[in-house]
């Protein structure tokens, strides 16, 4: 198997993982909206996953970079930058005290990321 195939196989697996994580985010956020979960618990659960998700995504992008997959790198780079910016400004965590005020934004972000991972997944799979 060529190096390129290896890299994309890895990408498909990681992409599927990210997809699942994001689905989990969306589920919890909808749960909060219909009051199946309280905000503190939800934030505790989600906050455990925020950094790993960002790290894994950054790692994947890095692997694409060093393996010379320029298109895949370029596709992922904006999200890496966005995540990095959020961490720098300290806004990456879910804050239970503000959650209802920011729920709309979080939801929107989750859906966009979900779509992004979905597209990535199929791109890695079929290219």
């Amino acid at each position: 198997m060529s190096m390129e195939a290896m890299v994309f196989l890895f990408g498909v697996i990681v992409g599927a993982g990210l997809l699942f994580v994001k689905v989990f985010f969306v589920i919890l956020i909808s749960d909060l909206e219909v009051d199946y979960i309280n905000p503190i618990e939800m934030c505790n659960k989600l906050n455990q996953l925020v950094l790993p998700e960002m790290f894994v995504h950054a790692l994947l992008s890095f692997i694409y970079l060093i393996s010379g997959q320029w298109i895949a790198t370029a596709w992922n780079l904006p999200l890496v930058a966005y995540n990095a910016n959020k961490i720098m400004t300290g806004k990456h965590m879910y804050d239970a005290t503000e959650i209802f005020r920011t729920l709309g934004q979080h939801k929107k972000e989750c859906f966009i990321k979900l779509g992004f991972y979905l597209l990535s997944f199929f791109y890695y799979l079929y290219r």
């Binding site: 009051d35 309280n38 905000p39 503190i40 618990e41 005290t97 209802f100």
Partner: protein
Amino acid sequence: MGPSGGPMNQRPPMNQQRPLQQHPGMGRPPGPGPRPPVSGPGAPTSQPQQQQQQFQQHGGVPSQSPQRPPPMNSAPGATMPMVRPVSNLQQQPSDVGQPGHDQAPLNQARPPPPGQQASGMGQPHGQVAWGAPPGSAPSSGNAQNQRSRPPSLVMQQQPLHPPSHQTPSQPPVQPAMQPAMQPPMQPPMQPPMQSQTPAQQPQQPQHPPSIGQDPNFAPMAGTPIPTGQATGGHKPKRVYPSAGVNAAQDSPPYGPMSGHPGGEVGGGFQSVGAPGMPQPPQPQYGASAMAAASPSYGTPVPTHNPTFQQGHGQGQIPQQPNAHQMTNQMGSMSLQQQQQQQPGYGFSNNAGPSLTTVALTGTRPHIQDLEAPPPAIRLTSAASVTQSPYANCDPSYKRSTLNAIPATQELLKKSRLPLGLVITPYRSVKEGDEPVPVVSDSIMARCRRCRTYINPYVKFVEGGQRWKCNMCFTLNEVPSSFDYDPHTQQPVDRWQRLELNYAVVEYIAPTEYMVRPPQPPVYLFLIDVSYQAIQCGMVATAAAAILESLDHIPNEEGRTKVGVIAVDSAIHFFNLNTVSGEPEMLVVSDLEEPFLPQPLDMLCNLTDCRDNLSSLLDRLHNMFKDTHNVGSALGPALLSAYKLISPIGGKILCLQSSLPNLGPGVVKMREDPKLLGTSKESTLLEPASSFYKTFSIDCMKSQVCVDMFLFGAQYSDVATMNCLPKYTGGNTFFYPSFNAARPEDAEKLRHELREILSQEIALEAVMRVRVSKGLRMSAFYGNFFVRSTDLLSLPNVPRDQSYSIELGFEDLLTVQTVCFQTALLHTSSSGERRVRVLTMALPVTNSLADLYMSADQVAIATLLANKAVERTHMSAAASGATPNLPISDNLKLIPLLTLGMLKHLAFRASSQIPSDMRSFALHLLSTLPSQCLIPYIHPQFYSLHNMPENCGTVDVNTGKVQMPQAMNLSSENLARGGLFMIDNSQAIWLWVGRDVVPQLCWDLFGEESYQNIRGGKTMLPVLENDFNQRINLIIRHTQNMRRQPYYESVYVVKEDGDQLLRMQFLSHLIEDRAEPILSYHQYLAHLKDRVNHGSF
């Protein structure tokens, strides 16, 4: 070494008590289930909302505001299921006597409640044009009454009314004024307001001023305003004229002033208008009539207290009307006409005032209206199942920004008015207020679908067997005990039930509403004993104040628990449960993992350990008086306190006078004068450390509330410290540069601690707000934790804290009445689980005119203040969210209030305001009830040297202290020889003019001359003379008249004294221009421009 007999520095082995920290309660928090701790697992249905509950006080008499109409006569034969004297307030006999209560014809038109009728009829619809000659002015009493009357819907039809329908007391209008005043202020989106057709105007002047209506007003013809200084037969009393340029010459500075036109001030309320005070003309506002009219700016508010006018036999001064002269008349209509002519409004109205507009420019804001009641809620008489006058919520508990709800989102958008509720569910009940009625038979009828509590606005159907929920329209069974009492085996009258007659009721909650036995009140004092705290005397003063308040702490059942922790660089616990009767001090200096040395003895029963506690508080200061320890381990101490208190829940009172500098929760000095006044300033208003936010969430989960008392010599980071109270339902108190050596500082601390400790608080509370289908809550503002989209969690509910809720649309409103119900499930201080239910019903309207007519400017200002606070935290710029250019009469003060906010300490752009002061002001803005918030934004301004002689005395008839007339906040009203007072609900400022007469200095301050008066924060001496006692009474009354725990310190400001004090005083004069913010009239012009250019 402290005097406590116990082993000092006893330090148990490190791990000794660890197991005890695993309190069962620690694992309890909200739990994985959707229901947080308070929800009852055994609740009768599976609906998620069932957490709301109720509670109440026994023997309560319905609490209501004094403005309510008097109770009707009770039906002679009505049986009362409850012992409470409520029957008086029940329906009219005709209702009570309805055959068969289970068959009650619910929707039949009942006679409207007397209050509605009375207020709707026979009132002049006085709109007056400013600048009208005094002789033609109507009495301002009428203008005032207008406000308390349910406004009617429409003004479009007005021109149609034949003159014969007008009430004879129709006030006149200056037709000539109208075209001039009207156009600039007409916002383009308000076609209805154009209804001022010329056709109506000619008829107006035919009506004489409302002479026949109000006997108090003498005919005015030929009475020039300024001569209104009545020359009644009073014996001359001492009056302080302003020793201004004019006055000083033509009259002796002090003494009987009979020779002076301004001398007899006793005749009326014209405090401002005394000619002795130079009243500069106001050339910029044109009309020459203005100058003459201006003295009447202190019009009393006869609506509130009619006896004001007659009660004293004072000469009546026909001058009041001028204050309201500049309004435009929109005409009026009679009741019948209105109902006939407005088929399209979705609801019928009982009374028919019309939308009135006023011209804003060219006039002074009519500030007396700040205290006017909100616009009446015009529900149909069939909306409520009973005709109780208390069927809708008192504004002091809950008020809506719009007393008519727009049917569509588009209409709301078009109006540009904010839609929201201002709720003060747990306001204090002072002497004279009626307590909240209590339903003690634990029959709680609730909708099985949405869990709404039964309320006066439900519908009984199927012969009264079922009731239809007014929120979700589900049919529910009526509990049989509504009609039949199984204990006495007697039929009972369901129309007498409190929940069908009162909008505010409390239920005693059954056990389904508890997850654990109701908690006892717990007070844990966390006292800073570092060097700064000892030096400024905080420890001694606070300990004395706590000691003094021990007897007032709610402890009816003897269950209250108290504990004390002192903290510097170590944590000092006190064991109050010793046999020896001497408190034991145990010191823990391990800040990394602080533990509780004897967890079972640290909190003890107040009754049992009262002696130990007193001896500890007595000695606390001496124990640490020689300390040089500058460390403050607030974070670890909070964690320990939390461990101690979390199994029960309760209140931590944290008295902190230095920045925490050890352990977790360290806060650094971050005030940077370079940032003040710039866009980066908002970072200073954000919490600096995430520790406090995280900790507050833990506290909330365990029903622990934190109150912060901050004493900062320099910077105390109010923004960060305020996090704890903010999310736990607490309160913050701030004492900048506290020094106990100053009696006024010590008094403030003593007063506020006593207030906080002695108030009956609600514990382990949740608050849920339900709104009719089609509406939803979009944002919550206040001190609480939002636990769900409609559920707020409050470990403690302090008295008189206000919460604001913004509403949005989900759907069109197809109903005629919408309902808002707030339920507060709490444990009372006496250990009862109760649910307090506040229900408010409002009509739905399709008319923009209605919307404007029903807008409540006080509630709007409160909501805007809360939103502005929020925005300050989010972004840099101060907010001036002006919703619209209001022109309707009941909105005319909105520009003034928004201007007040723009110039407020919390929002104005300035590099001189320390961020602590700003943070604290923001805290106050978001928690004060409207009653205190409005003066905080727009202070009361009084002239004291020339106030009428009855001011500052107790009115024999009403038992109330007579206050001088409030004046407009403009420096034009200041005189060089005067004594003025500004009261902003948080502080009282006394301005002493430089030419003040020596006699006044002597009488008031006990000083020989102006030069000897000391400026700054002070307490007025109590001297044996009339003037001093009146001023002292006014100040005491001001300090006590509002519902709040804060103490108003008195500041004396000398005209040529300390620059800073002067600036602070002058910054309250919001109608003046204060760089870079516009004056009131400039602001209006600015608003007008923006409206005309459509840039809103």
